[in-house]
Symmetry: C2
């Protein structure tokens, strides 16, 4: 059912609104994300998106496409390789690298910006949907299709 | 300036609104998070919060308290140990486990629910704020104080 090499991607632009909503729902109002004035004095000179917000594109690629609705997260590693600025278009690319069992998939999870710079590298282990679970939904979200949020 | 054993925590209740906002800003509308009907047929019987949303409390504890405003993420590992249901109160506990250098801290990052069940285990490596950066903000967010979002 699942094979090594199966892949999908999901793309999203991160706006100022996204960053402020993430700050609100998590409580992380670190001014590197929320304050233009503060950010101007940092190494990046402007505000950056929260790392876990950017990583949300991985969650979307996995949860909506590969393997899709019904799957559950067991683990995720995230290496933040480059900053994501407000307005950047981030594409998560996910690829099955090991079928551990019928109930465990290891997935390479990487995010790139609009200039093809890798901003996040990492790996997830997930539980795919149980047989029958989410099938109806998955039909409308074929793996490999490009996300348009 | 930073010592092994320094710790802080941050607490937040995750509401249905938080979950739907996270689904909106990331694109992860996996029905295990957003559909009561779908979730009723899953192993957990009800909707669960996104793992990366719950992990946001770690981001908040690090970004607001230890080491606080101005810090940057280099990496984060997340092991999802138990489900987080809507309405659960999650406390992130973060503790410095290694001062790698003046510019690198290794932090143990764990989240617990209101019943003291560990829901996330993991570790972060972060860059603390540069000298002078964020000092004014940090004064009002003393490390170790309990978050009230």
């Amino acid at each position: 059912m699942y094979s090594v090499g199966d892949s999908a991607e999901f793309t999203k632009v991160f706006s100022e609104e996204d960053v402020f909503l993430f700050a609100g729902i998590t409580g992380d109002r670190n001014p590197v994300h929320t304050s233009k004035e503060f950010a101007a004095k940092t190494r990046f000179k402007e505000r950056i998106a929260h790392g876990l917000l950017t990583a949300g594109t991985i969650s979307a690629a996995i949860g909506m496409k590969l393997p899709g609705p019904g799957c559950l997260y067991l683990s995720q590693t995230l290496e933040f390789k480059a900053p994501v600025f407000l307005g950047d278009e981030i594409t998560a690319r996910v690829e099955i690298v090991e079928v551990i069992s019928e109930k465990r998939l290891r997935i390479k999870t990487r995010c790139f910006n609009q200039d093809e710079v890798m901003v996040i590298d990492g790996e997830a282990v997930i539980v795919p949907p149980r047989r029958g679970e989410g099938d109806a939904v998955r039909k409308t979200n074929s793996s490999g299709e490009r996300g348009t949020e």
